[in-house]
C-alpha cells in the first residue's frame, strides 16, 4: 500500500462525518453534508487513481465534478424558489 492509497483511505473515512450530517438535521444541513461529501469523494477518487496508476480512472472524478456539483446547485436553487 503506497502513500496515495493511505491518503484515499483517510479521505474515505472523512466521508463518515458527511454521512452523519446527511442523515440528521434540517434540509439545509443535509445539503451541506451532501456538498462536502461530494468534494471529499472527488478528492478520494483522485488519490485512488494515483495509487492504482490507472489513467482511465481520472474520468470518474472529472465527470463527478462536472455533474454532481451543478446538480446540487440546481437543487438548492429549486428548493429556495419553489419548495
Amino acid at each position: 500500500m503506497n502513500v496515495w492509497l493511505l491518503a484515499s483511505v483517510a479521505l474515505l473515512l472523512c466521508l463518515v462525518p458527511c454521512a452523519i450530517r446527511v442523515v440528521r438535521g434540517s434540509i439545509a444541513d443535509r445539503l451541506v453534508g451532501l456538498e462536502s461529501g461530494t468534494i471529499v469523494a472527488i478528492l478520494a477518487l483522485l488519490t485512488i487513481e494515483e495509487g492504482l496508476q490507472r489513467q482511465s480512472f481520472f474520468d470518474l472524478p472529472l465527470s463527478m465534478a462536472v455533474l454532481t456539483i451543478p446538480s446540487t446547485l440546481l437543487f438548492a436553487t429549486f428548493y429556495r424558489r419553489w419548495l
Binding site: 491518503a7 472523512c14 462525518p17 458527511c18 456538498e35 465534478a65 456539483i69
Partner: protein
Amino acid sequence: MLRDVLIDGLLFAGVVVVALSCLGMLVMRTTLQRLHYLGPLAMLAPVLIGVAVACARNTYGGAGYKAVFIAILVMIFAPVLTHQTARMTEARKDAR
C-alpha cells in the same frame, strides 16, 4: 528525493484540511456556521491534492492537466454552491 517530500507534504496537508473541515462541519451548531467549513474544503484541499497529483505524474501529459482541471472546477463551482445554500437557508428562515 525533494520532489517526493514535496508530494507527500502536499498530500498530507490536503488530507488534514479535509479531515479538519469535515470535523468542523460535524460539530458546528447552525447551518451557516457549517457552511464556513466548506471554504477550506473547496478552495484549499483540491489545490493541494491536485498539485500533488500533477507533480507525481511528472509529465506534461493529460493526467496531470486533468487533476489540475478537476481542482479548478471544484474551486469555481463550490463557492457558488455555498452561496446558494446560504441564500436558501436564509430564504427558508424568512418563510417560517
